[in-house]
C-alpha cells in the first residue's frame, strides 16, 4: 500500500502544495466522506484552516508537519467537541488535550475532525453511535467494523492521512480489516491513555490507523512513550519503529494458532496461509502453534470488560458535564433520569452485566474466575512465544457483514474471537489488508510479545511489499 505520509511530505517539502491548500482539500474530502459514510462526528474546518495557515509559516520539524489527520471521538481535544458518540456528552468541549492529541499537535499535524465511533467504544460494528451508523466506504450496506469504525472509514476513503483509534478487544484491528487499512494495537501502556475516555482500564490501548505499514510506524514514533499523566504508561527508552521497517525476516519463525484455523472457513484459511507462505521465500519459517485457552477468551473478556466499564461509566451522571433533566425530585432521580436518557443500548447492557458480575454472591464465580483464566491466556502466549517470534492469523471470521445483520449481542461479540485473546494478554497486534472477497477487504493479524512492535513492523512491511494489496 502507498505511504500517504511519504507522498504528501514530498509535495509539501518541495512546495508543490501548501499546508493550507492540502488541508482545504482534506476538509472537502471529509465532507464528501461524511455524506457517504458518516465517519465524522465533527469536522473542524475553522480550527484546521487556522492551524494550517500558521503551520505554513513554520519549518517542518517532523514528518507529520502539515498532514491532515483525525481522532476517534473518545479522545479529548481542547476547544473541539468530544462526545464519545454519546448523547451523554452532547455539547461537551474539553478544556485540555489528551496526551496523544498534544503530541500530534506538537508534531505539526493538522487535526481536521473527530471520528464517529461506537458509543464509549462499546461495539464491533459502529452501529451503536448516538450520531448515526457509520458505513463501510467499499460497500455502504456493510459495517466498517468497530468501535473505531469512523477512523477506519475516514482513512480508507482518503479523508484523513491517518487517524488515532482505540483497541480494547479489537476495536482498531477489526475495523482496519473490514476497511482495508492498517491498524496497530500497541502493548498495553505504550501510548498514554490520559484524556482518552476509559472503557476497560486494564484493556484499553490507543493506536494508529493508516493506509500503510510505514505510516503506522511514523505515527507510533510520535505518540508512544511515557506520560506523567498516565501512571500505567511504559517507561522508555523505546527506539524508533520506522527503523524496523524493511528489515529482513530471514530466520524468523511465524506461528499460526491451530485453534484459530479450526474456526475459519476454507476460503479464509487459504487466504491467510497463502499470504504467510510468501514469507517462506524470504527465509521465514511458518509453524503451527497451540493457544489452548482460545476457547475461553471470549467469555473471559465479556465478564471482565463490562465489569471495568460499569465502574468507568459511573462518572456519567449529568452533574459535572453533559445534558441534564430539569427539576428532578431529588438527587437519585437526577442520576436515574440522566443516565437512562443519555446512555445508549449497548452501554446500558454492559453496565448491567458488569454490575452483576461484580455483585455480592456472584463476584467469585464470574469476575474472580475470569481474572484467573486471564492469567492462563497470558501463559498461553508466553509459552507460544518461546518457539516463535510472531504469531499470525485472521483478524475476523469473515469480511464485513451487513448493517443490521447481527441482532443478538452474542453474535456481535463472537466477531471478536480472534482479536480478544491478545487484548487479554496486553500484547501488541497489527491488522494489514492482504486480500479481498466480493469487493470487501480481508485482514491478516500479526501478534508479538509485549513491546515487540518492532517485529510486527518488520513482518508487516515485508508482507505489504510481497502482496502489494490495493482495492
Amino acid at each position: 500500500m502507498i505511504s500517504k505520509i511519504k507522498v504528501l511530505r514530498e509535495l509539501l517539502d518541495n512546495k508543490k502544495v501548501s499546508i493550507l491548500e492540502l488541508t482545504q482539500e482534506y476538509i472537502e474530502k471529509a465532507k464528501a466522506t461524511q455524506k457517504k459514510t458518516n465517519a465524522f462526528t465533527y469536522i473542524a474546518e475553522h480550527e484546521a484552516l487556522e492551524a494550517a495557515a500558521s503551520a505554513d509559516t513554520q519549518e517542518a520539524s517532523s514528518p507529520l508537519h502539515g498532514l491532515p489527520y483525525s481522532l476517534k471521538d473518545i479522545i479529548s481535544t481542547k476547544g473541539i467537541p468530544t462526545t464519545a458518540s454519546s448523547k451523554m456528552l452532547e455539547g461537551y468541549v474539553p478544556t485540555f488535550d489528551a496526551t496523544v492529541a498534544e503530541r500530534l499537535k506538537a508534531s505539526g499535524a493538522i487535526l481536521i475532525g473527530k471520528n464517529n465511533c461506537d458509543e464509549f467504544a462499546m461495539g464491533g460494528s459502529n452501529e451503536n453511535s448516538a450520531y448515526g451508523v457509520v458505513k463501510n466506504p467499499h460497500n455502504t450496506s456493510k459495517v466498517p467494523g468497530g468501535s473505531s469504525g469512523g477512523s477506519a472509514a475516514a482513512v480508507a476513503d482518503g479523508a484523513s492521512v491517518f487517524s488515532i483509534g482505540t483497541d480494547t478487544g479489537g476495536s482498531i484491528r477489526q475495523p482496519a480489516a473490514f476497511c482495508g487499512v492498517v491498524g496497530t494495537k500497541v502493548t498495553y501502556g505504550l501510548v498514554p491513555r490520559h484524556g482518552v475516555m476509559a472503557m476497560a482500564s486494564s484493556f484499553d490501548t490507543v493506536g494508529p490507523i493508516t493506509s500503510s505499514v510505514y505510516d503506522s510506524a511514523v505515527v507510533l514514533d510520535h505518540i508512544a512513550g511515557q506520560s506523567s499523566h498516565d501512571m500505567t504508561s511504559i517507561k522508555g527508552p523505546l527506539g524508533s519503529y520506522v527503523d524496523a521497517i524493511g528489515k529482513s525476516v530471514d530466520g524468523m519463525t511465524i506461528g499460526v494458532p491451530k485453534e484459530y484455523l479450526e474456526l475459519l472457513d476454507e476460503s479464509m484459511k487459504t487466504t491467510i496461509m497463502s499470504s504467510l507462505d510468501l514469507l517462506k521465500a524470504k527465509g521465514a519459517t511458518i509453524k503451527v502453534v497451540s493457544l489452548p485457552q482460545t476457547k475461553h477468551a471470549l467469555s473471559t473478556y465479556y465478564i471482565l470488560v463490562p465489569a471495568e466499564a460499569s465502574s468507568n461509566m459511573s462518572r456519567y451522571d449529568g452533574l459535572r458535564y453533559g445534558p441534564t433533566v430539569t427539576e428532578p425530585k431529588n438527587l437519585e432521580e437526577l442520576y436515574l433520569a440522566n443516565r437512562t436518557n443519555g446512555l445508549g443500548d449497548e452501554v446500558k447492557r454492559r453496565i448491567l452485566l458488569g454490575s452483576f458480575v461484580l455483585s455480592h454472591g456472584y463476584y467469585d464465580a464470574y469476575y474472580l474466575q475470569a481474572q484467573k483464566v486471564r492469567t492462563l491466556i497470558i501463559q498461553d502466549f508466553a509459552n507460544a512465544f518461546k518457539d516463535v517470534d510472531v504469531i499470525a492469523g485472521p483478524v475476523t471470521p469473515s469480511v464485513a457483514f451487513d448493517i443490521g445483520g447481527k441482532k443478538d449481542p452474542m453474535d456481535l461479540y463472537k466477531e471478536d474471537v480472534f482479536t480478544i485473546p491478545a487484548s487479554c494478554a496486553g500484547i501488541p497486534g497489527m491488522s494489514i489488508p492482504v486480500s479481498s472477497k466480493g469487493g470487501l477487504p480481508i485482514g491478516l493479524q500479526l501478534l508479538a510479545p509485549q513491546q515487540g512492535e518492532g517485529r510486527l513492523f518488520t513482518v508487516a512491511s515485508m508482507l505489504e511489499e510481497l502482496i502489494g494489496f490495493s482495492l
Binding site: 500505567t232 449529568g318 431529588n330 433520569a337 449481542p409
Partner: protein, 97 residues
C-alpha cells in the same frame, strides 16, 4: 442464570438506571444469554492460579504530591462544563432525600 424480577430491579439500582418493563425483559434476556455462554468458565481448572488485574506487572505507582499549574487552573474551567447551578465554586445538587 435466570433473573427474578427482584434480582433485576436490584441490578438496575446498582447500575443507576431506570428501565421500562419492555427494556427490563430485553436486557435480562440479553444478559442471561451472555452469562449462559460464559458459564463454561466455571469448568476451567484455576487451582493455584493467581488472578490478573494488571498485565504489565505494575503496582503502587506513586509520584510526589506536587500541585501542578494545570491542576491549579482546572477547577474553575471544570465548573463551566456543568449544566447544574454553580454556587461558590460548587455544583449545587438536588436534595438527597
Amino acid at each position: 442464570m435466570k433473573f427474578t424480577k427482584e434480582q433485576f430491579k436490584k441490578l438496575e439500582e446498582l447500575s443507576k438506571l431506570r428501565l421500562s418493563v419492555e427494556d427490563e425483559l430485553r436486557y435480562a434476556t440479553d444478559i442471561e444469554g451472555v452469562l449462559a455462554y460464559a458459564e463454561e468458565l466455571s469448568a476451567v481448572d484455576t487451582t493455584g492460579v493467581l488472578p490478573t488485574s494488571q498485565v504489565t506487572g505494575l503496582s503502587n505507582i506513586q509520584r510526589t504530591d506536587d500541585v501542578t499549574q494545570q491542576e491549579l487552573e482546572s477547577g474553575s474551567t471544570l465548573l463551566a462544563h456543568s449544566n447544574q447551578e454553580v454556587e461558590m465554586k460548587q455544583i449545587k445538587v438536588p436534595n438527597v432525600l
